[in-house]
């Protein structure tokens, strides 16, 4: 059924990306429950032309321990040993990088946590939407639906260390600020800053209450958050804006199109990269000056990731298409990787 394949490619959504610790592999998670792996050394070699497409190294369909249900893969994170995935049924599971590079498509998960808790009033399934790994690579932060909690796990023994509840709707994104502090953006319209030292919520931001950010027609939900020192960037229904954490005040609105919803933001090299419901990748300085905006293959961008490991220093973004756009230089799209050839 050739047309079915074409249809699946047409409706494909890529939700998250992760790089291997050596920077050699890019893994992309999609709505069909597949992990698509690209060998970057190969993809970046000069042997490719427009007519010779860059093919994935392998696909891995997550079987979820034998249960036949289909889940979507929403979140990815990576540390030195593991690739960690979160799916639409609340499972977090890890593949060892060694297995992935040696066994490819036959790799089996080496651990699995049930990362969301059941709540009486809301029927399941509860998904995991965001994963992050601490700088030392020993703790995993997850955010999702159900109890809408931000959870901190020890990757060493799989124990749940903290579970911060407070959001009234599911969590879209989490970001680490320091060893003790993390931020979470939620569908309920708030960004909460959590501190393990006080074991609870330190601050709450509500961009929809700020006149400059609010866009009532699009709702108050927050789709993405990123933190760097004193600065926090978040957006979603409300406009993307830079917030100053010490004063808890809005510093600068980052203007995109009037009705662009924001799904992805990334801070790297003192620059802000963001994308949303527009096929463009935006780039600003911390002062809010626009640097570039570059066209992309996806109409909606769900994730932007920069590879700082190894020698393949690239930025990639993915979203509502089967293609991953690769930027070697952020001025233009270098090429695209097709996850469903």
């Amino acid at each position: 059924m050739g047309s079915m394949n074409a249809l699946k490619r047409h409706y494909c959504r890529l939700f998250d990306q992760a790089y291997s610790p050596d920077g050699k592999f890019l893994v992309v998670a999609d709505g069909y429950g597949r992990l698509t792996t690209f060998d970057l050394d190969d993809c970046l070699s000069n042997s490719y032309t427009d007519t010779r497409p860059r093919l994935p190294a392998f696909h891995l369909t997550h079987k979820n321990h034998g249960t036949p249900r289909e889940s979507k893969l929403y979140a990815l994170a990576s540390n030195d040993n593991h690739l960690i995935c979160g799916d639409s049924h609340g499972d977090v599971f890890g593949y060892s990088w060694q297995d992935l590079s040696e066994q490819g498509t036959n790799s089996k998960p080496s651990f699995r946590y049930v990362a969301t808790s059941c709540v009486e009033s809301v029927p399941g399934p509860y998904e995991v939407n965001a994963l992050a790994v601490s700088d030392d690579g020993e703790r995993l932060i997850s955010g999702g639906a159900g109890d809408n909690a931000v959870k901190v796990w020890s990757l060493e023994n799989g124990r749940l260390i903290h579970s911060f509840t407070g959001h009234s709707d599911y969590i879209h994104d989490v970001a680490l600020r320091s060893e003790h502090e993390m931020a979470s953006a939620s569908e309920d319209g708030t960004v909460r800053l959590w501190d393990t030292r006080v074991n609870g919520c330190a601050h709450t931001l509500k961009p929809a209450d700020n006149q400059d950010c609010a866009r009532n027609a699009l709702g108050s939900w927050l789709g993405c958050v990123a933190v760097d020192g004193e600065w926090l960037v978040c957006g979603g229904g409300p406009a993307l804006a830079i917030w100053h954490l010490s004063s808890m005040s809005m510093a600068q609105v980052l203007s995109t199109g009037a009705d662009v919803e924001h799904h992805a933001v990334e801070l790297c090299d003192n620059k802000i990269l963001a994308g949303g419901s527009q096929p463009r990748l935006f780039q600003w300085t911390y002062r809010g000056e626009s640097i570039t905006d570059v066209g992309c293959s996806s109409n909606i961008i769900y994730d932007i990731a920069a590879n700082t490991n190894g020698r393949n220093h690239i930025t990639t973004c993915c979203g509502s298409s089967s293609k991953v756009d690769v930027f070697i230089n952020l001025g233009y799209k270098s090429f695209s990787l097709e996850t469903m050839p």
Binding site: M1, L7, Y11, D16, S88, P123, G124, G223, S277
Partner: protein, 711 residues
């Protein structure tokens, strides 16, 4: 000039004296006054002119020139003298003298003028004469050239005799009688030899043509003889028939059932083995399965099949003859061509004239089917029968299938013949196996032949039938390198040959059933009613507020040109969209309106109908720019069919539409809940308005709790 120079000197002198007087006279004549001169008798003007003319002709140029110089000299002298000593002469005298001189000069001038004109006239006359002669010369030259050409043409003349291939000289002398060859004359004289050879040729040819005529007559005689005999045999046929008829009651009485089998036994050796294989399998199937609703018949024109097989040399298959005969002719022609260059040129011209006819004839031959065929009659329900006629295309070496639908219902029979309708006979067998359209010749050799003759199988499909791959499989034809797609090949690889016929019959029955169901569904949808089987109703919420408000057929071009389909272009290029039926459905709830473009393929319901959504609320959205619509479109197109129980797949179209109307409710209610507007009141249960990074809407219906959540 010679005439003037020859004038005598004496005459010159006398004329000079006379000229002196004349000059005076002349000057007076030309002047305004007319002084009377007493000593000379007056002249008439005509006389004067004649004199003057005569004098002018008499004088020479040199004389005039000398006189002119002397006159000028004396004039100069007189003037010099006057200038040096103005007192010497009286002015009056000088004046007279001057006048005299001037008159003389003037006369000289006049004479010269006259002479000049004379000379010019003469020169003109001369030239005229020369030109006349020149023209004459030219004429002569042309005449010469013309004659030369005539001579050349005569020299180059070639008679028709040169084109006649003659018997070689040696042969001529040995064969021809002496009275024709006349060796004594012709050996030395080439011309005579040629004449003699031509004469011999004529004799020879006359003889041969006479022989030909004789033979032809004999042939005609024999043919009429054969015709008469055939007629007699023919007249015997009714007799034998009547004997058979008469014998039948006795045979029946004796319990011998021969009829069908004898017919079959008679046909079997004449039948192409491919059709025979199909027939044998079908009979075996009928015997084993005891399928009363399946019949197999051997049919066709036995006589022409007999003729065909008789015309064949044994051991050669039917497919080879026409082509071989053709190429044989060509070879002969070619051999003749070798004889002489001129002859070749002639014959090639002749051949070119018949080339287009030959191509046409070869096309016809290529598409020719064997006169015998096998017919399956598959009864599907009490009212409908599917008749499959298998024919063997000898030249393409492939089996073709013609399909006919028969029914007792008048309404249906009309639909069966309606082109473009879901019950149209032509489309009934399409994609019985994935990708099997029967529109190309499955045999690569046959396909190459068609390409060579510039024929597309597709355009003749109505005449010669579809060359489905399953028909080839059933006939046991295996192609080393088939034109089958990978998909089709995989489908056949999974089927054992012994199961194939059963599968085909089952699929044909199922196909007709689904088509009848599709027809019923479309008819109900045209009345904007979504008819669902009872078993499926439970899969949808009891309360659906969105309504189907219109359902109409679209043309394929309208469908493909619709703005909503633009983002799906990559999918639309697939072959599946070349055929099938296109519709546009509209669903409404309140102010919201969802326009849905629907494509139902030939392979319905194995390939689910495709829906393309366009939602008009405040703004117009398609799946390309709205994530929720994209999710809905994806689930109706890709995953929904899996949730329908196999027994009810025939109702897939209505099920999909019911799915869309019920989910449109959720989409509108969830969106208005997200935006906290009251456009669409929340009439359904759903606890979450969004999930995941893409804020997916809860489209999964939970029957147990009558609520919506996520899958």
């Amino acid at each position: 000039m010679p005439a003037t120079t020859a004038a005598p000197v004496s005459k010159k002198r006398t004329s000079r004296t006379a000229s002196g007087n004349d000059q005076q006279q002349n000057g007076a004549n030309n002047g305004t006054k007319r002084p009377s001169t007493g000593d000379l008798k007056p002249m008439s003007l005509q006389e004067f002119y004649d004199l003057e003319d005569k004098e002018a002709t008499a004088r020479s140029q040199a004389e005039d020139e000398a006189q002119f110089t002397s006159e000028c000299e004396s004039l100069k002298k007189a003037l010099t003298r006057f200038v040096d000593n103005p007192a010497d002469d009286s002015a009056e005298e000088l004046k007279n003298m001057m006048t005299l001189h001037m008159i003389k000069l003037r006369r000289l001038n006049r004479l010269t003028q006259f002479r000049n004109r004379k000379m010019r006239d003469r020169a003109a006359a001369e030239r005229l004469r020369v030109e006349e002669q020149h023209l004459q010369l030219q004429n002569h030259r042309h005449e010469i050239e013309h004659l030369q050409k005539e001579v050349d043409r005569c020299l180059e003349f070639k008679s028709a005799d040169q084109d006649i291939p003659l018997v070689p000289v040696d042969e001529f002398y040995t064969n021809a009688p002496a009275d024709i060859s006349k060796p004594d004359v012709t050996k030395s004289d080439n011309h005579q030899q040629r004449l003699a050879r031509l004469g011999w040729e004529l004799e020879e040819r006359k003889g041969l043509s006479k022989q030909l005529q004789e033979l032809q007559e004999r042939k005609n005689l024999l043919a009429s003889d054969i015709g008469a005999k055939e007629q007699r045999l023919e007249s015997l046929k009714p007799l034998t028939q009547s004997i058979m008829e008469a014998a039948r009651p006795m045979q029946e009485a004796m319990g011998i059932k021969l009829d069908g089998e004898t017919q079959q036994r008679e046909m079997a050796p004449l039948m192409p083995k491919e059709l025979y294989v199909i027939g044998i399998q079908a009979q075996a199937y009928k015997d084993i399965s005891r399928d009363e609703k399946f019949e197999v018949i051997f049919g066709g024109d036995v006589e022409s099949a007999k003729k065909l097989s008789a015309a064949l040399p044994t051991g050669k298959s039917a497919s080879q003859t026409p082509e071989d005969a053709d190429s044989g002719n060509e070879d002969e022609e070619r051999r003749e061509d070798g004889a002489e260059e001129r002859a070749q040129r002639l014959s090639s011209r002749k051949r070119r004239a018949t080339v287009s006819e030959a191509v046409e004839r070869r096309r016809e031959l290529a598409l020719l089917a064997h006169p015998l065929h096998v017919v399956f009659i598959i009864t599907c329900s009490d009212k409908t029968k599917v008749t499959l006629t298998f024919e063997y295309l000898s030249e393409l070496r492939a089996v073709s299938v013609k399909c006919r639908l028969e029914t007792d219902s008048a309404e249906l029979s009309k639909l069966f013949a309606t082109s473009g309708h879901v019950l149209y006979e032509e489309t009934l067998l399409q994609q019985l196996f994935p990708g099997d359209t029967g529109l190309t010749c499955p045999n690569p050799v046959g396909q190459a032949k068609l390409e060579h003759l510039n024929i597309e199988y597709e355009t003749y499909v109505n005449r010669i039938g579809f060359a489905f791959h399953w028909a080839q499989q059933l006939a046991g034809i295996k192609f080393a390198d088939s034109t089958m797609t990978r998909m089709t090949r995989e489908a056949f690889d999974r089927i054992q040959l012994c199961d194939l016929l059963q599968k085909i019959i089952r699929r044909v029955r199922r196909r007709l059933q689904t088509r009848l169901s599709l027809h019923a569904q479309i008819t109900s949808l045209e009345g904007t009613k979504i008819n669902l089987p009872k078993a499926l109703i439970g899969h949808y919420p009891t309360k659906v507020l969105s309504r189907l408000t219109s359902w109409k057929a679209l043309s394929s071009d309208d469908f493909k040109a619709h703005p909503a389909t633009q983002s799906l272009q990559a999918v639309m290029t697939s072959d599946a969209f070349a055929t099938g039926w296109f519709f546009s459905a509209t669903m409404e709830r309140g102010d919201a309106k969802m326009v849905t473009l629907v494509h139902v393929g030939d392979a319905f319901p194995d390939i689910a109908p495709l829906f393309i959504l366009l939602l008009k609320t405040r703004a117009t959205r398609t799946a390309a720019d709205c994530s929720s619509l994209k999710t809905l479109e994806e689930s109706v197109n890709c995953t929904f069919a899996r949730s329908v129980p196999k027994a009810h797949m025939a109702s897939l179209l209505c099920a999909q539409l019911q799915y869309l109307t019920s989910r449109l409710d959720i989409l509108l209610e969830a969106e208005s809940a997200r935006q906290s507007t009251k456009d669409f009141a929340r009439e359904h249960l759903f606890s979450r308005k969004a999930r995941g990074p893409d804020r997916e809407l809860p489209f999964a219906f939970q029957e147990s709790s009558n609520s919506f959540s996520f899958s």
